[in-house]
């Protein structure tokens, strides 16, 4: 029971990226359950449903059709009930402007999508364990800001 099950949600419109993400999460040896959505509309609908168990961690792609990552982030941060979710931006954009904007809108972590699989696994393991430490240690959540 040491590491309690982490509920993870990913919103990404790219089929391949979702498959790779799913595989990587399953291989890092942390007890997780994963739900995936193709765009922000599906995601926010899911989060709004009453019987939804809120995720511990949400991975958000920025460029998505029908409600992009920025809009999702704003929606989520507007809703106080969704406050405890750790929001991780998961995007190919390395524009400093985009990165800063997401942090200012309330994201905790920015991940520049790694191009190789091993790096992706390493980064994912790092952020999952980081999140767990922020939930269980005396660490200042206001300063829960990292980029990889």
């Amino acid at each position: 029971m040491a590491f309690e099950k982490l509920n993870i949600v990913l919103a990404d419109d790219d089929d391949d990226d979702r498959e790779i993400f799913k595989l990587a999460i399953s291989q890092i040896g942390v007890n997780t359950s994963l739900k995936m959505f193709k765009n922000g509309v599906e995601l926010t609908e899911y989060l709004r449903q009453e019987d939804t168990i809120l995720p511990n961690i949400l991975f958000l792609d920025l460029n998505m059709p029908a409600m992009d990552g920025f809009e999702c982030l704003r929606e989520i941060k507007k809703n106080p009930g969704l406050g405890p979710i750790t929001v991780i931006i998961y995007s190919t954009s390395s524009s400093e402007k985009d990165i800063e904007k997401t942090f200012l809108e309330g994201a905790n972590i920015y991940i520049n999508k790694p191009s190789d699989y091993e790096t992706l696994k390493t980064v994912l393991k790092k952020v999952l364990t980081l999140d767990w430490q922020y939930q269980t240690s005396i660490l200042n959540r206001d300063n829960f800001l990292f980029r990889f």
């Binding site: 029971m1 040491a2 590491f3 040896g29 942390v30 800063e100 942090f103 200012l104 920015y110 393991k125 999952l128 364990t129 980081l130 767990w132 430490q133 240690s137 005396i138 660490l139 200042n140 300063n143 800001l145 990292f146 980029r147 990889f148």
Partner: protein, 186 residues
């Protein structure tokens, strides 16, 4: 009027725990951080009530033996990092080993098994968290922080900060300032 409040989290938690235990009227001793000795026998109902009250205040009684070890290690690391360490350079492994009845090798293995993070990494994470706090809340310079936390140089501190957070200390500070203004303007 808008006030910025600095929290002594350890003290707040301790006070809250004492307060809740006082409310219950049990006889207790708060030993080290996070450890309570109940000086009387509780029946099942009282145990349940204690658990319930603590749960409601965001506290949880740890049952798993390895989790207890991890919690103790974490408390020791926080204590070590946040004590005014300018006087002496204490090696983390010596400190932990000196306070717990296990070898450092064993403790470090249990720690990574439970948390999926190595003990060394956790020490860095705690240190970085403290650096962030000193940068923002006490407005110390990097030179002052490096001295306070026994870094060999400012360059070493900056490098470690950047490596583990992805930000340089100055860009982190900039971002936090903007974040603060953002929330103030809303």
């Amino acid at each position: 009027m808008r006030l910025h409040v600095k929290f002594d989290i350890e003290k707040i938690c301790k006070d809250l725990l004492s307060h809740k235990l006082d409310e219950l009227g049990v006889n207790y001793n708060l030993s080290s951080f996070g450890e309570v000795e109940i000086m009387q026998t509780l029946n099942e109902k009282e145990k349940k009530q204690l658990q319930h009250i603590l749960n409601n205040s965001g506290m949880k009684i740890v049952n798993d033996q390895n989790m207890i070890i991890v919690e103790k290690i974490k408390a020791l690391i926080t204590e070590l990092i946040r004590q005014d360490a300018t006087s002496a350079k204490i090696v983390v492994s010596d400190y932990i080993e000196g306070k717990l009845p296990y070898s450092y090798n064993y403790l470090s293995r249990v720690f990574s098994e439970v948390t999926y993070m190595s003990l060394e990494k956790y020490v860095i994470l705690q240190k970085i968290d403290y650096v962030k706090e000193l940068l923002m809340e006490q407005n110390l310079s990097l030179t002052q922080i490096a001295y306070k936390l026994n870094y060999s140089s400012v360059a070493h501190l900056s490098k470690q900060f950047k490596k583990h957070t992805g930000f340089s200390p100055s860009s982190f500070k900039e971002l936090k300032k903007k974040l603060k203004n953002n929330t103030t303007n809303q």
